[in-house]
């Protein structure tokens, strides 16, 4: 805050009459620092804002008074629109708007078709607001609420709408959460249990599409991990789903046959492509930790587990060498971290076979120590976690 403004406030201010966001209560993240303001510039702005403030406060008071009087009518609804156009973060006004819908607007419709039209109009308004404020919790929540009120809701329109948001920001946390909500609505609206795995499969396909588009989409990897679990649990029937892509057909048959080994093999191909596309992007590396975690390994035989871990290790090893050449002898840390983890998981497999772990290859034990020591030198910020790490713990 400028010193001129501070001085101005010391002259005029009293505690708790208001609060200021010019210095910010919670500003949009990443707001660049504005230039130093002179006292004159501040006074001009204050003068300019005065008229707006008086209009804003008059409108706020009017709407809050109507709310307190439980006034539910068209005029009040219109006023909430006006106020939310000023300030979509004013959650109390969204609440009042819902109460007007419930206690007035919905009572005036003659059937579900009319109610649907009413809510479609509301969704159009919400879309407008979300385009300007794509990270405002209250607006997203209002959209969910509207969808729940409409037994004729068109979920395909919602899926299209989410797609538009992903075009702008494929990691929008709210948009992913909203997609999860719509998928659940779609499942709930289906009569047949057997239809549900189809939706999960379509969602799995969607994560594949998003990852292929941009390997750095961790949100897509996250969703993929959930969907893989669901598809194993439900084992969808292949003949119900018309899949033309050969690679996806393989996934589908692995899910339907509940073969974690096959899925892991297929995911290993995806993993290989991803790490070669951008070896420094953490998304797929974190995902790999799950691929070679207990969820998959517990279902594999000892030999299958050992083979797949060694295969993964070899893939990483090859990349690690290329990376080292490209980066003047400096190791890629994600390669090292993941190899370290794989060697530890391998030890766990040997230990499960024979409690002493005596058959664990000595070469692997040596590699583990070597990599751990290398990371201790390279990844200084996280040195302590490598100190805490051993094959045994």
């Amino acid at each position: 805050m400028s010193q001129a403004l501070q001085a101005f406030q010391r002259e005029t201010g009293t505690f708790l009459d208001g609060y200021r966001t010019e210095e910010g209560i919670l500003r949009m993240h990443g707001t660049k620092k504005s230039k130093h303001q002179t006292k004159q510039a501040i006074l001009i702005r204050i003068k300019k804002d005065a008229a707006k403030i008086s209009r804003y406060r008059r409108l706020s008071n009017e709407v809050l008074s109507r709310k307190e009087a439980h006034k539910y009518d068209d005029e009040s609804f219109k006023l909430t629109t006006q106020l939310l156009d000023w300030n979509p973060e004013f959650y109390t006004i969204w609440n009042y708007r819902r109460d007007i819908l419930t206690n007035f607007k919905f009572l005036a419709v003659s059937d579900s078709e009319e109610k649907h039209h009413l809510l479609v109009k509301e969704l159009q308004y919400i879309l407008l607001k979300l385009k300007s404020f794509p990270k405002c919790y209250w607006i997203w929540n209002h959209r969910k609420w509207c969808l729940k009120q409409d037994c004729r809701a068109d979920f395909s329109v919602e899926m299209h709408f989410i797609g538009q948001f992903f075009e702008v920001d494929p990691r929008n946390y709210h948009a992913w959460g909203y997609r999860q909500f719509i998928v659940q609505c779609m499942k709930d609206s289906m009569g047949l249990e057997g239809e549900r795995p189809k939706i999960d499969y379509q969602e799995f396909k969607f994560t594949t599409k998003m990852i292929n588009k941009n390997i750095s989409n961790y949100s897509a990897f996250h969703n993929r991990s959930n969907l893989v679990g669901k598809l194993f649990d439900q084992s969808p029937n292949c003949t119900d789903i018309n899949e033309t892509d050969v690679n996806l057909q393989r996934y589908l048959s692995a899910f339907s046959g509940k073969s974690k080994k096959q899925v892991l093999e297929l995911e290993l191909n995806m993993f290989q492509n991803a790490i070669y596309t951008d070896p420094d992007d953490s998304s797929v590396w974190i995902y790999a930790r799950w691929l070679f975690g207990d969820y998959f390994l517990d279902d594999l035989t000892f030999n299958e587990g050992v083979t797949l871990i060694n295969k993964a290790n070899k893939i990483i090893e090859e990349l690690a060498e290329l990376e080292k050449e490209d980066n003047r002898g400096i190791d890629n840390q994600w390669c090292l971290k993941t190899q370290l983890y794989l060697l530890k998981q391998l030890y766990k497999l040997y230990k499960a076979e024979d409690d002493s772990g005596v058959n664990y290859p000595e070469d692997d034990a040596r590699e583990f120590d070597k990599m751990r020591n290398r990371l201790l030198e390279l990844d200084l910020m996280r040195a302590q976690r490598y100190k805490n790490l051993s094959l045994d713990n």
């Binding site: 609060y19 210095e23 959930n226 953490s282």
Partner: protein
Amino acid sequence: MSLLIDKHVDYIKNLFRNPVYLEHWMAEHLKMNALYWGIGALFLMHHEDEFKKEDVVSFIMNCYDANCGGFGSAPRHDAHLLSTLSALQVLKLYDSLDALDKDKREKTIQFIVSLQLDDGSFEGDRFGEVDTRFVYTAIQSLAILETLEPKVVEPAVDFILQCQNFDGSFGIMPGAESHAAQAFTCIATLAICNALDRLPNKETLEWWLSDRQVANGGLNGRPEKLPDVCYSWWVLSCLGILQKLNYVDGEKLVQFIMNSQSDTGGISDRPGNECDVYHTYFGLAGLSLLGKYGLASIDPIYALPTAITKTIKKYPYK
């Protein structure tokens, strides 16, 4: 570089003076939270007496909704769990919980408990939004009021555990992507409920948390995102609760926070940006957890000074 305590104190005091810009009037929905961040920051800087306790308590009680028992973010604004926790935290800071008489207190408890859903989650108000933030705000509110009960705690813990993901961390609800701020609400809830021993995949979680530190020393909230001072709290508090503070480089983080300090007071989300009270508080909170600059020590579970939280009776009650 030194911590500009006097400037930060002035900065916070000025936040609550006469509003003059339109923006000031448009942020009333955050006023109660801002009060917690601002006063919390003053307490961390040992400037507890900058505001008159009676003024603050009277403002808070003006936000009490006598119909439902919750607190709104400003007078006439609807009650919500988020503003209710902030109100109780500030009352606790000023040792003024008795501003709520027996009836009001009972109503507040009712307000909170009635928002718990069958699966153990909480909605923020009667309109159905579910978020792990609301479990935390509800549970900490009840903890401050020392009225936690197994019938509320156990389903809440079950719900939180369902929110753990493949990477060991937590999202806004079951199935939602991990996010460091949500991780804090979940792990701290488990800590308040004395249920940390039920947390699986600790090592994976600890690695995910420590991988939030990026090359410039700052912490991000999700993989491949930019660092932000507020995660100095959300990530660091989790590591603090798990007793793994040394899984990130504290000195580098201190540098990042200090580079985000404005020479006219306040801390921003990252170096060179505009300050706000939210980042000022969580920047200071991070520095406090790292034991820097003689700041009052902060409790990673409650996000309140430890001098205050040690007076809260801990669950399960004997």
